[in-house]
Symmetry: C2
Subunit: 176 residues, 2 copies
DNA sequence: CGCATCATGTAAGCTGTTACATGATTAT
DNA sequence: ATAATCATGTAACAGCTTACATGATGCG
């Protein structure tokens, strides 16, 4: 179960409330795993009952800051190193791209342009995050994954632009 | 719901049995969406009740070959072009890479080498598929997505090799 | 005072996994 | 014969989404 280990991983970075974890899932982890607060709060309770997390402090508005325990770190390490990864992926955008080639050129262009706008926005956000991470001393452990995200998104950007150019070309041919 | 539209998309390619669709999910669509036969058979029944697919023929072993209807094609097109895509992704391997930077160099190297072996195998399979698709006349609509898969996997391969080299270097420093 | 944000939680319903269950056909 | 593959289906359970529900704190 990735949710459990994603929560443990985020708590290694910094003790956090459930609310903060929900924001981190939306920001740092968005392209890897997604989780809502309605899943995160019950998961924290489960992780506590297994001894993997504990309440570090209580704050205003009945907030609780959770921290990972030694057992939690061991569980995370075992998952990362010893457990055979599941290669199953679920990516709606990839399903769309797979079938985009069946569309008429005009429709295909519309679909690819929408994706290109999204990819460019992702690149912008990753560049922004990279600046912040580089400014921290020492740079945080996930700097290489930001670099990876930038490279993968550059591939998507170039490929989408090629598909758009190709679709424009095909649309032109029809009217010749 | 991507499962529904992935089934419709696969049926545009070629009328298929549920069993064949399950194999296609494992092969062509593996990096985009995953589905088991226990989900595919009930989904075909639902799609039939909505008029999006119909039985094209019945064969041996109580097999039924399904084909997409005109209404099904319209539904698929509307989904691809008009519906705002969900950008939610679930990718356990990406979660692992995100947290790999927290591991000790030796552990990180083990994790990255396992992924590199997988990525190299993916590249081998994509190259094989590309040859088959290029041999077909005319080349099938999903040729560009195979090219995209190859480019993305090349990025992963190079990045993983860099992480492995870096981890080896760090491991060396410790013993200096 | 009112709005945005912080903060947590539960319930109903849908989606997806694993396991169970059955049987036909083909190849060795 | 018997093993592998083809072929379909259901049930129990786990995971995830959407909606409901509540209230505190900080800012303008």
């Amino acid at each position: 179960m990735s949710l459990r280990h994603a929560v443990l991983g985020l708590l290694v970075q910094r003790p956090s409330t459930g609310y903060e974890l929900a924001k981190l899932f939306d920001r740092s982890l968005m392209t890897a795993w997604h989780a809502r607060h309605s899943q995160i709060y019950p998961e924290l309770t489960k992780l506590e009952s297994r001894g993997f997390v504990e309440v570090a402090s209580e704050g205003p508005r009945s907030s609780r800051t959770w921290r990972i325990t030694r057992e939690g770190r061991e569980e995370l390490r075992a998952w990362l190193v010893e457990k055979e990864p599941s290669r199953i992926q679920r990516n709606e955008s990839a399903v769309r791209l797979f079938f985009a080639g069946m569309l008429a050129p005009g429709d295909r262009q519309v679909a690819c342009e929408r994706d290109l706008a999204y990819v460019n926005e992702q690149i912008r956000m990753l560049e922004e995050t990279r600046e912040q991470v580089l400014a921290a001393t020492p740079p945080q452990y996930f700097l290489p994954t930001i670099e990876l995200g930038l490279r993968v998104n550059a591939v998507y950007r170039d490929w989408l632009q090629e598909q758009i150019d190709q679709a424009e070309h095909e649309a032109g041919e029809i009217h010749d």
